[in-house]
């Protein structure tokens, strides 16, 4: 009992430390994720792209669908930002060795996951409200459920953080970062509903549609579309939630295993 309380106390202290360090960059991150990203993506995908690419009757609907899919990209950028210091630490200073003397290695990794998820969640929160404020006529979301959206954002934050933590533990060094983005993240984004919803992928090619179901980012984009647009064209929230929780558990398990192998010097 005393040991559990002690572990919890150390866990909380490590979490506080990470939050304190992140807070030092709050102004830079706040400007980038609170204004620049929402403005830029809303301008590009909500305002300009639908008017140039699609017929006038489809502009409003397709603009909102395309823009909401950008959440996957923002979630990946944020979780990458929060988890990549682990890789630099593992190949550099190894501050994590000191942390592992205080807590079990798996709990240290879990603390990083909780921090990365909270960090991503906090900076994802302004994305849609800011876009709605900047482009109220182009972003048509009369049936939005903000509570459902917050739930999807939280799950997306945990899932992408677990995924990037897993990638961090599996990568051998920073030279593999560009490969991670080009060969994994970009593929997952493009075929994960970032620009087109799953039913369009399925209509184009049913095989591609079934393969896309293995892509965890499909559930982020579909879940966000369902929460904001509430249409039967997208997956129901419970399917998206279940899939994201499953992927989070799977990625965390793989990350713990890879992390243990990496830390175990015996």
């Amino acid at each position: 009992m005393t040991s559990t309380l002690h572990s919890l106390s150390v866990f909380w202290q490590l979490l506080r430390r990470d939050i304190y360090v992140a807070f030092k960059h709050i102004n830079v991150l706040g400007i980038n994720f609170g204004f620049i990203y929402p403005f830029m993506y809303a301008f590009c995908f909500l305002y300009v792209e639908p008017r140039v690419l699609f017929e006038p009757t489809m502009t409003l609907q397709n603009g909102s669908i395309t823009f909401i899919g950008q959440l996957s990209l923002v979630a990946l950028i944020l979780s990458f930002h929060a988890t990549i210091p682990v890789l630099f630490d593992l190949i550099g200073d190894r501050f994590i060795d000191y942390q592992c003397t205080l807590l079990h290695a798996r709990i240290v990794l879990l603390e990083r996951l909780v921090f990365a998820a909270l960090f991503s969640f906090c900076f994802m929160m302004p994305f849609f409200p800011v876009a709605k404020m900047l482009f109220p006529d182009s972003f048509d979301i009369p049936h939005v459920s903000w509570i459902s959206l917050a739930w999807i954002l939280l799950l997306a934050a945990f899932m992408t953080s677990a995924y990037h933590l897993m990638a961090t533990c599996l990568m051998r060094g920073p030279h593999q970062i560009s490969r991670l983005w080009v060969r994994c993240n970009d593929v997952m984004l493009t075929l994960g509903g970032m620009l087109v919803p799953w039913h369009v992928i399925y209509q184009t090619s049913p095989i591609l549609g079934y393969v896309a179901l293995l892509n965890p980012l499909v559930y982020v984009s579909e879940g966000a579309r369902q929460a904001l647009l509430a249409s039967p064209a997208f997956f129901p929230l419970w399917i998206c939630s279940a899939a994201m929780i499953g992927v989070t558990i799977l990625c965390t398990a793989v990350a713990c295993n890879a992390f243990k192998k990496r830390m175990d010097h015996i």
Binding site: E49, L53, R183, D186, L195
Partner: protein, 261 residues
């Protein structure tokens, strides 16, 4: 004599870079293939299924050129940033008996060569897959190739300037949200300039401030011809003007970050 010595060291450095590139070519080709195939699927099949006008498939696919320039350029720039921060191989290069202009020209030339060798075959494959949408009789081969070399020159100087103008921390935190993403999103890269001009001339004028608008439109003009795109008479001077500005910024960055006496 001096010129020939400089040229000899320049060639040796390029040869070294090409040898390194040769060992990484397979990876670069696979990475590029991923970008091209995703663009083919997105522009050729998924977006038309969603209701995109079919005549926009070819001009939209051509944005792959710019996307690949960004992808390869960013990794090149990041390599330079890591070198300045950690390895400092640049210090050894600065001690070589080679004028600084020649030295930084090797970076630019290597980048141009690597990007040309990676992008051209890949994008040709994509064009062949989407051949129905490309009017092959309208391609202006010489103009396209000459303009593409100019675009590569601009991009290589631009990424070098980015690597040498900012601190490591600023670069890592802000280079995508504050520089690269706005250049990609607020320009005529994912859509044609005439398409923007039809619904908002003001936004179209805004995108003219972005040099990548001219690069994308120039490549479209070279490969697709017609009157739908900005002509070379606008694109070439605009890219050259942007190149001069970027060279001046690069010179300032070199002085600030490396201070070669």
């Amino acid at each position: 004599m001096k010129l020939s010595e400089n040229a000899r060291i320049f060639c040796a450095l390029i040869q070294r870079d090409m040898k390194v590139f040769g060992s990484k070519f397979k990876d670069a080709f696979i990475d590029g293939m991923c970008v091209v195939m995703l663009q083919v699927i997105m522009c050729g099949y998924l977006l038309p299924q969603m209701g995109m006008k079919p005549h926009l498939i070819a001009p939209l696919y051509i944005s792959t050129f710019v996307l690949m320039l960004f992808t390869i350029g960013f990794s090149q720039s990041l390599r330079m940033v890591f070198d300045i921060k950690f390895n400092r191989y640049i210090d050894y290069l600065l001690t070589l008996p080679l004028p600084k202009t020649w030295l930084f020209s090797t970076y630019v030339f290597s980048f141009m060569l690597e990007t040309l060798l990676t992008t051209l075959p890949l994008i040709t494959i994509g064009i062949l897959v989407l051949h129905k949408h490309f009017p092959f009789d309208q391609i202006q081969w010489f103009s396209f190739f000459a303009f593409y070399v100019l675009a590569l020159l601009f991009m290589s100087v631009f990424v070098l300037m980015l690597a040498l103008s900012f601190s490591y921390q600023w670069y890592m935190d802000n280079i995508w949200p504050r520089i690269l993403s706005p250049l990609l999103c607020i320009g005529a890269i994912f859509f044609t300039w005439h398409g923007i001009n039809l619904f908002s001339p003001r936004v179209a004028q805004l995108t003219l401030l972005n040099p990548f608008t001219y690069i994308a439109e120039g490549i479209r003009m070279g490969l697709l011809g017609g009157t739908e795109y900005l002509p070379f008479t606008y694109c070439v001077p605009a890219v050259m003007l942007a190149l001069v500005v970027v060279i001046l910024l690069l010179a300032r960055g070199i002085k600030q970050r490396l201070d070669p006496v």
